[in-house]
């Protein structure tokens, strides 16, 4: 299972190994940047997640499913989802580590539900 590091160390990377179904991601890489000396006063934390999909279409489906809902907590956190090639990228900015952990944790639950749905009811019909 995916582990989110308790302390954000620069360039931490995690590997996710899954069952050998072709259209499930076999590795998710993450990179976390803690507040540096320079922006310590602002206290802005960043977290980046890149999720490979078997095709651009599937990455886009995931994007469209995961982006409409707003963050439950209004202030202190923002995230941005984009697709580039067949990779879904997510970038978070948060003021506090706890808020960031909650948001990333929720997102991982949602992502895995979307992936499981795609596994059971995919592949997508031709457009």
């Amino acid at each position: 299972m995916m582990e989110i590091p308790d302390t954000f160390a620069p360039s931490a990377s995690c590997a996710l190994v899954r069952s050998p179904k072709l259209y499930l991601p076999t590795r998710i890489t993450t990179m976390a940047a803690p507040c540096t000396e320079n922006n310590h006063k602002q206290g802005t934390l960043e977290f980046a997640l890149d999720v490979p999909f078997p095709s651009t279409r599937e990455a886009s489906i995931a994007l469209q499913s995961l982006s409409p809902d707003r963050e439950p907590r209004k202030g202190g956190i923002s995230k941005e989802l984009t697709v580039s090639g067949s990779t879904l990228s997510v970038r978070w900015r948060a003021d506090e580590a706890r808020i960031l952990r909650v948001s990333v944790g929720s997102f991982m639950d949602h992502l895995s539900l979307v992936m499981e749905t795609m596994e059971l009811f995919g592949p997508p019909v031709p457009q």
Binding site: I61, A62, Q64, S65, L66, S67, P68, D69, R70, P72, D109, H110, L113, V114, E116, T117, M118, L120, F121, G122, P123, P124, V125, Q127
Partner: protein, 321 residues
């Protein structure tokens, strides 16, 4: 023939239903039940829904004997309800809509209740009493809106009953104890009665002034009388001769009985359904979706966000005159 699949999970029930031109082809459902004395919280409810939703979806298709290609539209509950469970369900609906290449439709939960019971009872233009754990509204249709004539100004009637049941930990009936009666014009208020009876329970039971059963009975009698009163007031305003009770609390036979007495006195007709459709289910979302889809509505993915607050009168009822 239009086939719509509907996903519902705004509270502790998760259901997926399929409807085809007024026929319910399948309607499987699971309920998240917490240990006695505890209510259900959003994150745990969402976790429950997440663990069963794909199984329930498969069941819905199998029981209906349909393949995804046979579906014309994917409907889901946009709101109102609890945030985390709503998101869980919306994620699956959005994903299958895209996988299967079908249009998506966000449905108002309350309208789902109304459209399903309208379908089953074939009531023409009823005054609707919508009573559940999360909602208490009196609704009447007028000029393309389901207008809220009266509602609770604080908690829902089901919430009031549930919370007192947790305090008293019992269920039954006997002799009537007088409680505050708080109808405010077209609206009702329950939180004052709840505080009063929670406190009274402590004192009165200690002095053996009454039994726990008496208090439960009295609470039901009082709350239901209030609901019957505001329903009657709406009927008088709209000159309506039909009443429809929807929502989980609508299963309560005493409420149906009391409403029946009022209707008889007015020469009006009462419509109610059984548990399978009173309580939240997927087919009600499918049915409302069917009406909306046939009148030309769909929801763009970017607009498909869920919302905890979604008033019944915000929706344009394009499928009725």
């Amino acid at each position: 023939m239009t086939v719509v699949i509907g996903f519902e999970g705004s509270a502790n029930k998760i259901g997926v239903g399929i409807v085809r031109n007024g026929e319910v082809l399948s309607n499987p459902r699971r309920t998240y039940i917490t240990p006695p004395g505890q209510g259900f919280l959003p994150s745990e409810t969402a976790r429950h829904h997440r663990s069963v939703i794909l199984t329930v979806l498969k069941e819905a298709l199998e029981e209906a004997g349909l393949k995804p290609a046979d579906i014309d539209c994917v409907a889901y509950t946009k709101g109102p309800g609890m945030g985390a469970p709503l998101v869980t369900v919306a994620l699956v609906a959005r994903t299958v809509a895209q996988l299967w290449g079908k249009p998506l439709l966000g449905v108002n939960h309350c309208i789902g209740h109304i459209e399903m019971v309208r379908l089953i009872t074939q009531a023409n233009n009823p005054t609707v009493l919508y009573v559940s754990g999360g909602n208490t509204q009196v609704i009447a249709y007028s000029e393309r809106r389901y207008r809220i004539f009266g509602e609770t100004i604080d908690i829902a009637v089901g919430n009031c009953l549930d919370r007192f049941a947790r305090v008293i930990k019992v269920i039954m009936l006997l002799h009537y104890v007088e409680l505050p009666y708080t109808v405010k014009g077209m609206d009702v208020s329950f939180s004052g009665i709840l505080s009063y009876i929670e406190e009274a329970a402590g004192k009165m039971l200690k002095c053996n002034q009454c039994t726990a059963e008496d208090l439960c009975f009295s609470l039901q009698e009082t709350l239901f009388s209030m609901l019957v009163e505001i329903t009657e007031r709406a009927m008088a305003h709209c000159s309506s001769q039909e009443v429809l009770i929807v929502g989980g609390v609508g299963c309560n036979l005493r409420l149906q009985e009391m409403m029946g007495v009022m209707c008889k006195e007015r020469g009006a007709k009462l419509f109610a359904t059984d548990e399978s459709f009173c309580i939240d289910n997927g087919a009600m979302i499918a049915q409302a979706g069917w009406e909306m889809f046939r009148s030309g509505q769909t929801t763009e993915l970017s607009d498909s966000w869920i919302t905890q607050r979604y008033r019944t009168d915000e929706v344009e009822v394009t499928w009725r005159d």
